[in-house]
Amino acid sequence: MTDHYLVLSAILFTIGAVGVLIRRNAIVVFMCVELMLNATNLAFVSFARMHGSLDGQIIAFFVMVVAAAEVVVGLAIIMTIFRSRKSSSVDDANLLKY
């Protein structure tokens, strides 16, 4: 049964990744990143159950904390960029190039 969770996790992870690639709104991109993190968390949790050890859950817990921190900083950055560039599209922030 547990491997089903892994498959679900893989699918959601990939959906998240594809979302990062195709969406231009920075906020949505962030949401996709969150989705990917959640997908891995699911995998961790099911592995924890599979191995009968709580370490997986601990990791998932830490991932959540780090994700929260990341979201805070990331959204702040989005805000700053929006303030100066009046846009939340990741394609508009493309000055760092050749």
Binding site: L35, Q57, V72
Partner: protein, 276 residues
């Protein structure tokens, strides 16, 4: 809580929950990346997260299930929604892809990746699920986790707290705007007002317009819009909904408005002369 844990024991019950939630979460995830509006995406993400919370519970992780609901759905998603509101709740992505071949490539790589992972799972020899009964035995799941966090992972835990504080500080620093001039006093403001061309209060949004939504600019006497009447944040959104709003600075906008009004005021005089 015991009920949820017990649900793990019943294979059929669990698989039922799984299949329902799996379908929901995959659909929501797809919806999230496919809807044009950020708000909708956020709602879809909330769906996924709720489903995950349930799945955690099913996976003998009740603590995580609650954390998921509280932290993710409660805090993180709310944060997202706040930002979405600031940036424009109704803003939508354009469907035209600017980078050539990005979507196709993304889709292909995505499918390939999934296939790879699935093939990998298929070939992997996974151990038989042992369940967490033993691990949760001594005081339950929360106690088990706490024991680990405050012993084995205490260093990581401390570092994480440092990370959180830093992140909070970082967010403040990033969003903070330095006040370069002292805050104008009431007196100064009124003097400014008298000196400017517009002594009267700013037109509220929606004046003479069909709606009175905040993002609906007021109309000037000649029928053109007054950008001044809309919050600069709104007028700056590049969403394409308001073609008239250019996001110019308040000073420019004010000058433009004044010009228009003056032109209108001057015009009737000519008309009167004609009538005479």
């Amino acid at each position: 809580m015991t009920g949820v844990v017990a649900a793990g024991a019943h294979q059929t019950g669990e698989s039922a929950i799984f299949w329902v939630l799996a379908v929901i979460s995959v659909a929501a995830a797809l919806g999230m990346i496919l809807t044009r509006k950020a708000v909708h995406s956020a709602l879809m993400l909330a769906t996924v997260m709720f489903s995950f919370a349930v799945l955690y519970a099913v996976n003998e992780a009740p603590f995580l299930a609650f954390v998921q609901v509280i932290v993710y759905t409660g805090a993180v998603l709310m944060l997202f929604l706040f930002v979405v509101m600031i940036i424009g709740v109704s803003s939508t992505d354009s469907l035209v892809e600017t980078i050539k071949g990005q979507r196709v490539a993304a889709a292909l790589v995505g499918i390939g990746f999934v296939v790879l992972l699935l093939v990998g799972f298929g070939h992997a020899t996974l151990p038989k699920t042992t369940g967490l009964k033993d691990a949760n035995a001594n005081g339950g799941n929360v106690m088990g986790l706490a024991r680990l966090i405050f012993t084995k992972y205490v260093f990581a835990f401390e570092v994480t707290s440092a990370l959180l504080i830093t992140a909070a500080l970082g967010a403040m620093v990033l969003t903070h705007r330095e006040r370069l001039r002292p805050k104008p006093t009431q007196k100064q403001l009124s003097k400014e007002r008298i000196k400017s061309d517009r002594v009267a209060p700013l037109p509220p949004p929606g004046t003479y317009a069909r709606h009175n939504a905040v993002d609906m600019p007021a109309l000037l006497p000649d029928g053109t819009i007054s950008e001044l009447s809309v919050s600069p944040v709104i007028s700056r959104r590049r969403t394409g909904e308001h073609e008239d709003l250019h996001g110019a600075s308040p000073e420019v906008v004010a000058r433009q408005d004044t010009k228009t009004v003056k032109a209108v005021i001057d015009k009737p005089v000519e008309v009167e002369e004609e009538e005479q």
